[in-house]
């Protein structure tokens, strides 16, 4: 695939390049919608499309007004604050419980391993609308509906499968004789955990945490039902904005979020490489 052999026929040559063009178009389909909102967010007008001034690249066509809107509007700032307070707390809960359970699950003998795994992964599989409906009914009964902790607990539950999956994946490559060696050298189980096991599985824990964080930070269906106006998060505010067609401030927020996801993606990539190096698998 990578290189065309010199004996290729004309038809093969045409197909080779046509295939690359097709793939290029699909990559364009994947990435263009995300990139196109970046220039649009600097629009000087309240339009969702390019103005003639923008196409002419004249400076009057561009402005930071939508960003100013975002940073000066009370609604958006409150939403940002809510997102920033809910997501880390939910992440903390998911990572704490999740890491502990993943270590338990990776022991050689776990009773009902399959069933437990199925239950722990289920929040990722059950459609969000069903989780949201169930949580709305149940949390109203126990008085958690419309509270900060209600949303945090719901988001923590949704983030747990990601932590379980990433941490158990790291533990698969974990060499058990290391803990035995540590015990042999006189370390108690707690010291062994923090000094030997933790540093090795840390990349998995962090990437699981990032997944849990983005799940909560990006989540809108559950918070719509479990939260009340006091827990309005950034995605919720965007959702209302899009449904009611209000302002292109949404595009400014979207651009900021794209920047955030690029940072997250880069972090994950660094972690993955580090994990491979630590386990002695050099990148191909």
């Amino acid at each position: 695939m990578s290189a065309l052999p010199p004996y290729a026929t004309t038809g093969q040559r045409i197909w080779h390049y046509a295939f690359r063009v097709i793939c290029g178009l699909i990559f364009f389909f994947l990435i263009a919608p995300i990139l196109i909102i970046i220039p649009l967010s600097f629009n000087a007008e309240d339009f969702f499309t390019f103005t003639p001034e923008m196409l002419a690249l004249s400076p009057e066509g561009f402005s930071l007004k939508h960003y100013r809107d975002f940073f000066s509007s009370n609604d958006w700032q409150q939403a940002l604050w809510n997102s920033v307070t809910i997501a880390p707390m939910a992440t903390l809960l998911s990572v704490g419980f999740g890491t502990l359970a993943a270590i338990g699950l990776s022991q050689p003998h776990v009773p009902f391993r399959r069933a437990i795994m199925a239950i722990l992964i289920s929040p990722m599989i059950v459609p969000l609308i069903i989780s949201a409906a169930g949580m709305f009914f149940f949390y109203s009964r126990i008085g958690l509906q419309g509270t900060y902790w209600g949303v945090v607990l719901a988001h923590a539950a949704l983030g747990i499968p990601f932590v379980i999956i990433t941490v158990t994946a790291t533990l698969v490559g974990f060499d058990r004789s290391l803990t035995r060696a540590a015990a042999n050298l006189g370390a108690d189980p707690v010291t062994t955990f923090f000094r030997v096991q933790m540093p090795l599985i840390l990349p998995g824990v962090i990437s699981g945490g990032l997944f849990a964080f983005i799940t909560s930070f990006d989540e809108v269906v559950v918070v719509l039902f479990v939260g009340s106006a006091g827990q309005k998060t950034l995605p919720w505010q965007m959702f209302t904005g899009l449904r009611e067609q209000i302002s292109p401030t949404i595009l400014a927020v979207a651009t900021i979020l794209v920047a955030l996801s690029i940072v997250l993606l880069a972090t994950l990539e660094v972690l993955r490489r580090r994990g491979e190096r630590l386990r002695g698998l050099s990148p191909a």
Partner: protein, 514 residues
């Protein structure tokens, strides 16, 4: 040491038992590590799902709101096509009076309205109407006999006695219900809270005599033995509120839905209806759910197919490029995967609008004229395009990880044996990539079938899924039972697919981010 005896460990216990104990301890420790999370998930996630399943069949509202009527109707034969006996109307009077006091009759009305239209307004009207019944004749007669009856303290004292309560069951029940309601509200019963229905109940209990010792009640019994109070025609009074009360169908509906559990919500989800005569199809204009389920399935399939068509070439390219360039190209797949769902949906909203970027470009290059701008949003096309984009990474990543394991030498071998490019691909490469297609398709399909946000924003009315209807019933129409039933059906579909996924791929093999 006995040569034939069991092998012993260092502390003298048989090795077999010692090992078993160690294994048990190890199992217990593993379970101990897992249990906090298991409890956490059971409380925050599994319990809510169980609650939803329960709500899809739960129907206590009729029994709780009009218990006396339900009790009388148990002995009524609906097939005779007659009205229920006068006792049913008497019970209904007490029930609705008490329900109106607690402001619960309108909720029951809305519940029954799902099954028979007109019930909501009937109960609303009746809640107001029962206060205007001529039952004040009893209040006046009894209070004339002894003014102490107008004081709640007298009532409390009389009904403090268990024998009296047993002798005057109807009144005692109504009095207890009223007291419980005030106690739960933290309010105190005042004189004006002693309404006519309590005196009417007292009349019903005492008109044929009652074995009581209480002098006040004895006086009432004696007075009625001399000159009976003028009886109130409850049926006529209800007919005055609304003619529907003398329609046997209304009573049959109440009787049909009196049970604590009902299949009604599930039947409704399948465009059926539980009527007194059995299960029937709903009226033509109310049949929407079968269509909606079909549309959800059809559109999820379309999205899955588009994902296969677009994902396969890309995964192939990624798997066959040198690792360095593949990693760079993988960013194009991973960036959308990591970008906020709302961001991607807003991007499509911006692109697909009639005054949006795609239409602008098409007009500019002259493919369409300004009047003929394409309608690509608020319909099925919009939903399919946007969701294909959103779910495409979930197809590419599993495909890529399967294709990476297929040795390229197989294709070369096939070609050297004389296969054409197509035969080599179709007979050698494609069959080996099928597990990847299966895994990706099930994943995409599961995710698509329950999607809510994107259809809500770009789907208009024709491009919405069953999940949007569930959300509508929770937040707008407040028909929670129906929302729960629809959710249960959707959940069942997803769990079957999840099980299939587990059989084909294995839950443990779910990979994130490549």
């Amino acid at each position: 040491m006995n040569e034939t005896g069991p092998v012993l460990s260092a502390d003298g216990t048989p090795l077999k038992r010692s090992l078993a104990r160690a294994l048990r301890r190890e199992k217990f420790r593993a379970f101990l590590l897992v249990s906090p999370l298991l409890i956490f998930i059971l409380v925050t996630f599994i319990a809510p799902i169980a609650d939803m399943l329960f709500r899809s069949v739960e129907n206590n509202i009729v029994q709780d709101t009009i218990p006396r009527t339900v009790h009388v109707l148990r002995g009524w034969d609906p097939d005779a096509n007659d009205l229920p006996p006068e006792e049913a109307f008497q019970a209904l009077y007490l029930d609705i009076s008490l329900a109106a006091e607690m402001k619960r009759h309108t909720r029951l009305g809305s519940r029954l309205n799902y099954e028979k239209s007109g019930m909501a307004s009937l109960f609303r009207k009746s809640g107001r109407g029962v206060g205007k019944f001529d039952a004040d004749i009893y209040t006046d007669a009894i209070e004339d006999m002894d003014p102490a009856w107008s004081d709640p303290a007298t009532w409390a004292e009389v009904f403090d006695d268990a024998d009296t309560r047993a002798a005057l069951p109807v009144t005692a029940g109504a009095w207890a219900a009223l007291n419980d309601h005030f106690a739960s509200q933290g309010k105190e019963l005042k004189k004006r809270d002693l309404e006519d229905y309590l005196f009417a109940a007292l009349h019903l209990d005492t008109r044929d005599g009652a074995p009581v010792d209480d002098p006040g009640v004895k006086a009432i019994v004696a007075a009625q033995a001399a000159t009976p109070f003028e009886p109130l025609d409850y049926q006529a009074a209800f007919a005055d509120i609304d003619e529907d009360w003398v329609d046997p169908d209304v009573w049959k509906t109440i009787q049909t839905y009196a049970a604590s559990y009902t299949p009604g919500y599930f039947l409704n989800s399948a465009d059926l209806q539980l009527t007194p005569a059995g299960i029937e199809a709903r009226p033509e204009n109310e049949r929407i759910y079968i269509t909606l389920f079909q549309r959800t399935l059809f559109m999820s399939l379309m999205i899955t197919l588009s994902c296969i068509l677009l994902g396969y070439p890309v995964a192939w390219l990624l798997a066959n490029l040198p690792a360095r360039s593949a990693n760079v190209l993988l960013i194009f797949v991973l960036l959308p995967f990591w970008t906020s769902l709302l961001v991607r949906t807003s991007a499509w909203k911006v692109l697909l609008q009639q005054q949006g970027v795609i239409n602008d470009i098409l007009v500019w290059i002259g493919l369409i004229d300004n009047a003929g701008r394409l309608v690509m949003i608020n319909n099925q096309t919009g939903t399919i395009i946007a969701m294909t984009h959103i779910l495409l990474p979930f197809m590419i990543l599993p495909l890529y990880s399967v294709m990476k394991t297929i040795p390229p030498s197989f294709l070369r071998a096939a070609k050297s044996l004389g296969a054409t490019n197509w035969t080599a691909f179709w007979r050698v490469y494609f069959p080996q990539s099928v597990p990847g297609i299966g895994a990706g398709s099930i994943l995409v399909f599961i995710l698509a079938i329950g999607y809510y946000i994107t259809p809500e924003l770009v789907g208009g009315t024709q491009g919405v899924f069953i999940s949007n209807r569930i959300a509508f019933h929770i937040s707008s129409s407040l028909n929670w039972g129906l929302a729960a039933a629809l959710g249960t059906i959707l959940l069942a579909a997803v769990l079957i697919l999840y099980w299939a996924y587990d059989r084909i791929v294995g839950i443990d093999n779910v990979k994130l981010g490549g």
